[in-house]
């Protein structure tokens, strides 16, 4: 019967001990990484919840801000002639109708085939916004609507002229087809429509300023 004593046991090579500090360094780094990875997972969960808030379908009974961030019109008007007698581009303004009432009217964007609007008020001192000393309702330039299934809104786009405003087009949108965030609506040219594209933005009322700034710009 044989037994292995300390003298007989195979000894590690002399350089083996040199690995100890290296292994301790790796172990400490690994330990820290393991602890913080769990915390990051929790943080990611919170972030993804926040993102969910800014996307998804509209909820019945909830009130939303809605505005067109961009409207593109065809190069010719309803009579297939140049805008403003071919001298300049159209001066575009839009209105949002909900339940037959005009609930929002935009400012006019001069000489534009692609007109854009910010959902945030341009009269606002931005420093106030950054300081968060104003409420979202004071800041937002958008219609407020309440989502109800099969309810519609209508967007009426006009070419603003001194004498009288010319029709560019009008389009009814079923609210069921919209979602929170950006919604693209592409339209075809016809004798009653010269709108090519509408970008609508929607955000739930009650969102904080950071979310609003993110989605409105």
């Amino acid at each position: 019967m044989t037994s292995i004593s300390d003298f007989d046991a195979p000894k590690p090579p002399p350089w083996f001990g040199a690995l100890v500090p290296f292994l301790i360094v790796l172990a400490a780094a690994g330990l820290y990484w393991f602890i913080t990875a769990e915390q990051e997972e929790d943080q990611n969960y919170i972030d993804s919840n926040s993102e969910k808030k800014l996307s998804g379908s509209l909820i019945d009974g909830q009130t939303y801000y809605i505005f067109a961030s961009e409207i593109e019109v065809f190069p010719t008007n309803l009579e297939d002639e140049g805008w403003d007698r071919g001298e300049k581009g159209p001066d575009i303004r839009y209105r949002i109708l909900w339940k037959g009432n005009a609930v929002f009217e935009s400012i006019t964007k001069d000489d534009s085939l692609i007109a854009d609007w910010s959902g945030l008020s341009i009269e606002l001192n931005w420093k106030d916004l950054l300081g968060k000393s104003v409420s979202p309702d004071d800041v937002i330039k958008a219609a407020r609507i309440r989502f109800e299934k099969n309810e519609k809104i209508e967007i009426i786009v006009k070419d603003v002229d001194i004498a009288s405003d010319d029709d560019v087009g009008r389009h009814e949108i079923l609210l069921n087809e919209l979602s929170i965030g950006k919604n693209e609506i592409k339209l075809k040219k016809s004798t009653s429509n010269a709108i090519r594209n509408i970008s609508l933005r929607i955000l739930p009322v009650g969102s904080d300023l950071q979310d609003l700034a993110q989605i409105m710009n």
């Binding site: 002399p14 350089w15 001990g17 040199a18 690995l19 100890v20 500090p21 290296f22 301790i24 360094v25 790796l26 172990a27 400490a28 780094a29 690994g30 330990l31 820290y32 990484w33 931005w126 420093k127 916004l129 950054l130 700034a213 710009n217």
Partner: protein, 165 residues
């Protein structure tokens, strides 16, 4: 007995080094001078506070194609300290063989010259960031102090080895 204490300091230094390399070391608060408020609206991501670990800084430099600086930082803040601690540990193991121990001690002295180089590199980063325009600022995080403590422990270990020598 003295060698065991030295070993404890080496192990502590190694542990703190591992932690210090991966823990938050530096937080940069970017600003754009008088236009800060405008940038916060137009491109808020540009002004987001960034926190880096030493390994993170090396990775970032590498991503920015600044390979030379990435290698320099890797050499001074990762490879040199690990090599130094490895040599210290090995020197402790050979303390009962005077000839080999003295030979290793010479190598330890040589590597020891890099002792404060790691801290110097961090100081350099802060100076660079502090000289950014627009009032950008940098702040040391707890990882920097852990890293510095690791360096201090390794210095104590080297003193222990020198006494033995």
């Amino acid at each position: 007995m003295a060698m065991n204490i030295t070993r404890c300091f080496i192990a502590l230094s190694a542990f703190l080094l591992g932690l210090g390399l991966i823990a938050p070391t530096l937080t940069i608060y970017p600003k754009a001078g008088e236009l800060t408020w405008l940038i916060e609206i137009l491109a808020p991501e540009e002004l987001e506070t960034s926190t880096y670990s030493i390994i993170g800084v090396i990775g970032k430099l590498y991503q920015l194609n600044d390979v030379f600086l990435a290698l320099l930082l890797c050499l001074f803040s990762v490879m040199a300290p690990v090599s130094k601690l490895t040599l210290y540990w090995q020197a402790c193991s050979l303390s009962f063989r005077p000839k080999e121990f003295n030979r290793l001690l010479k190598a330890v002295h040589y590597v020891g010259k890099f002792s404060m180089a790691e801290v110097f590199i961090i100081a350099l980063i802060i100076v660079v960031v502090k000289s950014f325009p627009g009032g950008s600022t940098a702040q040391l995080e707890w990882g920097a102090y852990v890293f510095t403590t690791s360096v201090a422990c390794s210095i104590i270990a080297s003193i222990g080895l020198e006494k033995k020598g």
